[in-house]
Structures are given as structure tokens and as C-alpha cells.
């Protein structure tokens, strides 16, 4: 089973906001949860910001295993900058969701560092 979603047909030429990211997430999350392959086609989209990708893609890691996403979720038509932001968002999301103590330890260290400075 396979889903091809043209992102431009859902959110238009800009992928910026959390709200638009949530719209994509609500479409692809059930498909991925049921084991379908999903390809997101970003052809025609020219502006990207991290809040969109956090909501559309990053939060999939809440309950979809990374190995599953690796083999079932694909991206095409991304501009170099869109690819750059998405890569960084995925790296951050993997740390955030797969290392439960990551954020806690970062906050602890940062707060201590800031006090020491």
C-alpha cells in the first residue's frame, strides 16, 4: 500500500507554520501507523521553516518507531534549503524522542553552566 501526497495541494507554496504541519501530520500519521508507505512530494514549495517540519514530521516519532519511518516515509522534491532544515529537524526529533533523559540533562547542564558563568 502506498500514499503519494503533494504537499503543495494541502498547504500551498509555503511550509512555515505549526498549523500547516499539523495538517500534513494528520494525513500521514494514520497511513504510517497502518504500515503504508508514504512519499511526501514537496515540488513547488519554496519556503520552509522548522515549526512546520517539527509538527508534520518530527512528532511522528512520538509513537512511530524510527526504523519504521526510515523504511516507510520518503521525501521528494525538496529544495536544498528545505532538505537542510528537515535534516536538522529529524536529527533533533530523534534525540528528543529516543533519548528520554536528553532534554532533562541538557536543561540541568545549561542551568548549572549559566549559574557558574
Amino acid at each position: 500500500m502506498y500514499m503519494m501526497l503533494k504537499v503543495i495541494s494541502v498547504v500551498g507554496e509555503t511550509c512555515i507554520t505549526v498549523e500547516d504541519g499539523e495538517r500534513i501530520y494528520k494525513i500521514i500519521h494514520p497511513e504510517l501507523s497502518f504500515g503504508k508507505d508514504v512519499t511526501l512530494d514537496f515540488t513547488g514549495v519554496s519556503i520552509f521553516a522548522s515549526p512546520f517540519f517539527n509538527a508534520a514530521i518530527g512528532q511522528l516519532l512520538q509513537d512511530v518507531p524510527v526504523e519504521h519511518l526510515k523504511s516507510h516515509l520518503h521525501f521528494i522534491g525538496l529544495s536544498p534549503h528545505g532538505n537542510h532544515i528537515l535534516t536538522r529537524v529529524i536529527d533533533n526529533a530523534k534525540r528528543y524522542y529516543t533519548s528520554p533523559h536528553f532534554r532533562d540533562s541538557v536543561e540541568k547542564v545549561l542551568a548549572q553552566q549559566a549559574q557558574d558563568l
Binding site: 515549526p51 521525501f75 534549503h81 532538505n83 535534516t87 524522542y97
Partner: protein, 291 residues
């Protein structure tokens, strides 16, 4: 009624000190008058700041009188053309010229802001910028607006103004919110999670830029990191002023310092090189995005 004499205002740190001192002199007064007889130039940061300040005072029931008869012709023409005077209630319709319009965004309509950045600031054809660089610039600047609306809790939205300097091959934009400021946002968050929150303003700005730190519980916290990386690669400059903190990010370094003045909200001032050689494709991810 108190009369404030507006001087020439550029976008160096001392100019921001002037703006913050004007704010502290004016913001809780009911009636003020702005006199421009000592001013021959206002950079984009001053236009955005004064516009936001005036609107903020008016929205709190105060009155602000602009002594437009004290404007020199060149400055008056610029403030008419970019829509500042019209937005301040003066009978002076803006026109579509070389100035980058002054802008007020009460709601986070990011599509409109994106169009402004592309059509009125850098993508209008005045400047020869590679489309990939335009995309990267607009995307990164949108992170600022997104942060302001998400974290700033500004009662009146975001005020901004751009400027372009074709001969210098740089563009500038300033975005200002009159919200709680980054230091307050960071301290509130640290307090909520039971961490020590007695941290100087400059250190709170430093924390906001660090990888892995976000003041919100959900996934996020990438915007300032991405912007910092872009500024480094572009050899541009990013200045953020919030409370008494000042973050300076440029092509080679990042510094955080305490300034003499205090501004409760947040000011973001960005200078970006538009020469293609500063396009940072080489630093962008060479690998295809995937899990």
C-alpha cells in the same frame, strides 16, 4: 505633554541604547510629542521601533503627536513612502517605490509575512539574488517572526521594517515585539521545571541559542540555532536585544553581553550579505533528509 527629540538613529549598539531610553522615557506617559528637528536619518530599526512604540502607547489609551513639520524633506518622503506616517495616522498615503515598507503584524499570518519578505524586501527585482539564497534568507527570517509570536506574548504583535543597500550588497531587517522578552521566557520556564532561575539576562540569551534548549514542552527549539548557523555561513550579523541582554552573532563568533539600557520586549536586527559567494549551500546537509 512631554516632547521627545528624535536624533539621527543608525543601528549600532549606541543607537539601540537611544531607542531604549526613548522607550523608557515615553512608554508609561499619556501624552507625548515627537520632534524630528534634530534628525536627518532613521534606519529601519528606528522606523520599526518608533512605530511599535507609538502604537503601543496609543493602544494603552495614550496620545502621540508627530511634529511632521519638523521632518526634513528627504526623511519625510522616506517615511511617507514606506507607510510609516500613514500607519501612525497621518494623512500621507504610501507609494510603491524604493523603500521597504514599514509593517505591523497583529496576527501570525506567516504567508502574508513571507510575501512581504519576498515581494517587498529582497525579491522585488531591485537586487540580483540567487533564488536559492532568497529562499534561505526568507526561511530564516521567518523563524524570527515565528519565535516572536510563539514565545514573545506580545500584546500588539510584531513590528518590522527592512532596508536594502545594493551598493554594499547587504539587506537589513528589524523585527520588534513588546512582549515579555527572552530572559523572562527562559526564567519562567526554568522556574516551572524546578531549575535555578536567577540567571543574568545575557546568559539567558546564550541559553536560548544552545542546541537542545527550548522553553516549550513540545518538540521545537530549532529556530535560533538554524538562524545562527545561517548568519555564520553568510558572514552576516544578528543582534538580539532583550531586557539588558545583547546577543551578537556574526560570521566568526557569538558574544553575549549586558548593556546599560533596558527594553522589556525583544528586538532582532539582521544584516545579510546578498552576494552569491555567501550562499551557504556548502554547509547545508549534503545527505538526503530521512530518518
Amino acid at each position: 505633554m512631554v516632547t521627545i527629540f528624535i536624533p539621527r538613529i543608525n543601528d549600532d549598539p549606541r543607537d539601540f541604547n537611544i531607542l531604549f531610553n526613548i522607550w523608557n522615557e515615553c512608554h508609561d506617559r499619556q501624552h507625548i510629542e515627537l520632534d524630528f528637528s534634530r534628525c536627518d536619518f532613521l534606519k529601519q530599526n528606528a522606523v520599526a521601533f518608533l512605530g511599535g512604540m507609538i502604537t503601543h502607547i496609543k493602544s494603552n489609551g495614550g496620545t502621540v503627536s508627530l511634529k511632521t513639520d519638523t521632518l526634513i524633506p528627504a526623511l519625510q518622503a522616506n517615511l511617507e513612502q514606506n507607510g510609516f506616517l500613514f500607519a501612525m495616522g497621518e494623512d500621507a498615503s504610501p507609494w510603491d517605490g524604493n523603500s521597504v515598507p514599514y509593517r505591523e503584524d497583529r496576527e501570525p499570518d506567516m504567508r502574508k509575512i513571507s510575501r512581504y519578505l519576498q515581494e517587498k524586501w529582497i525579491g522585488k527585482g531591485w537586487l540580483n539574488i540567487h533564488p536559492n539564497l532568497i529562499e534561505a534568507i526568507v526561511s530564516n527570517v521567518l523563524e524570527i517572526y515565528s519565535n516572536a509570536f510563539t514565545h514573545g506574548f506580545s500584546p500588539n504583535g510584531v513590528y518590522s521594517c527592512g532596508q536594502k543597500f545594493p551598493t554594499l550588497e547587504v539587506v537589513k531587517i528589524t523585527a520588534i515585539d513588546f512582549g515579555i522578552g527572552i530572559p523572562q521566557s527562559v526564567r519562567t520556564y526554568l522556574h516551572a521545571i524546578g531549575r535555578p532561575d536567577a540567571i543574568p539576562d545575557d546568559k539567558t540569551l546564550q541559553m536560548a541559542f544552545l542546541e537542545g534548549f527550548s522553553t516549550r514542552p513540545e518538540l521545537g527549539g530549532m529556530g535560533l540555532k538554524l538562524l545562527k548557523e545561517f548568519i555564520h555561513a553568510n558572514k552576516g550579523q544578528l543582534d538580539i536585544y532583550s531586557h539588558s541582554g545583547h546577543a551578537i552573532i556574526d560570521g566568526n563568533s557569538e558574544r553575549y553581553e549586558i548593556i546599560d539600557a533596558f527594553f522589556r520586549g525583544t528586538v532582532v536586527n539582521i544584516t545579510i550579505n546578498i552576494d552569491q559567494k555567501f550562499y551557504y549551500l556548502s554547509t547545508e546537509s549534503s545527505r538526503q533528509a530521512s530518518f
